[in-house]
Symmetry: C2
Subunit: 247 residues, 2 copies
């Protein structure tokens, strides 16, 4: 058996998220369908670094699977891209050690969130940003983001419908920049809870609007109570940007 | 009556072109539906600078219509954008002279065509470029484009199923540039025949691949025969960029 690691990108617009669900179009379903066909009907399961929700995109999602085929990385890439739908693309392939696991071995993840903060919507990138035409004080948002860096219990910034007990996570880096593609909020951490990036972004937007101050973000974090943080921002602005492993 | 001129952009991906067609989603149908609703059921007809085909986009299409309402330009813009679907956006509104006509008064049009000339597809802009992963000699393409500038009978660069008799047009400017968004071919002229930009692009791509030389493009132009020019390139790379009027 050969273990294959792929870095893939996908446009989440037309998927019901990453994970297999009955009677839904998902990234995992489409990818496994192609692999199973390549393996003459033998079901092949893929494992990702983590799920992404409906409408969320990936520039650098990482998956792995096992195969009896001894293809070269470039052959895998070509064979997969020839059969995958147009909204999934395999960017690179690596043959890895049998012990590699795309989820358990993650050491660092980066997410980026795009806000189109202009008076007019951009029809061409409308599925790839959150259109927010109101004034935002970016300096204030940056100040609020500072409070969230480091190791904290992020219970307040996690969707309430989750089973995970340990809600301590570390955000190594966070930045907010105005670019041609809009305001980009980039977060790097050792892991992110369910909806964590979108709740952080929603809270920062409330700070940028002047609806809450920096102190209230600090208080929200300490409260460990979802109700104290801001709204969950829409999925279509969110990109799983990069997943890092030790090696 | 007030004559209203609008500059609009639309993502052509989910439309069956600009022009009204029975039982099809078109830009004109959607726009007129909103206007008719605003006018309490009185049908309002819009007039564009020209049609665009299925899958073709517009950054700066121009339309006009007549209305009894005496709204300010900003009020029109807000009212229309609030009701239009997300893939149509009104960029600006102007109250114009009763004699203005969005089609008859055009003096210059610009189209841009985007070619994603990379080894890997970009899933996020896949509907807004032509993915062409093979080598292209841009210098040769530029040389071939030069032959097409100026005033010519463009019969060879016009879809054969057209009623138009006079196929003489003037291309004022043409350029090919490599940018972050791919190779951009920009053409400005006094008017373009049916499929003209897409046939020019298809022919230039054949030059870039070395499948034909610059001289064959010159010969194709002189032949006034559609069969002598290259293939029609796909619609999704094409954008109606700008329409100019005298005033």
């Amino acid at each position: 058996m050969n273990r294959i690691k792929c870095i893939i990108s996908y446009d989440g617009t037309l998927f019901n998220g990453y994970q297999v669900q009955p009677n839904q179009r998902t990234v995992q379903t489409d990818f496994e369908k192609v692999l199973t066909k390549m393996h003459k009907g033998i079901p092949i399961r893929i494992h990702a670094s983590g799920r992404t929700d409906t409408g969320v995109h990936a520039v650098g999602q990482v998956i792995h699977f096992d195969s009896e085929y001894a293809l070269q990385p470039e052959q895998w890439k070509r064979a997969l891209n020839a059969q995958l739908p147009k909204d999934i693309n395999v960017r690179s392939v690596e043959i890895v050690d049998d012990h590699f696991h795309s989820r358990f071995d993650v050491v660092r993840k980066e997410y980026r969130y795009f806000i189109w903060n202009e008076k007019d919507e951009n029809v061409f990138s409308r599925n790839h940003h959150y259109f927010f035409p109101f004034d935002l004080n970016i300096a204030k948002m940056q100040e609020a983001l500072e409070c969230l860096l480091g190791t904290h219990d992020f219970s307040s910034f996690c969707a309430s419908n989750t089973d995970i007990k340990d809600k301590v996570r570390t955000i190594y880096k966070g930045s907010i920049n105005k670019t041609d593609q809009g305001i980009v909020i980039a977060l790097e951490g050792n892991g992110f809870l369910y909806n964590m990036v979108r709740i952080i972004v929603g809270t920062l937007i409330e700070v940028g609007q002047g609806k809450r101050d920096v102190k209230s973000v600090k208080n929200a974090l300490l409260a460990r109570d979802r109700a104290k943080a801001g709204k969950t921002s829409p999925p279509n602005g969110l990109f799983l940007w990069k997943v890092d492993y030790n090696n």
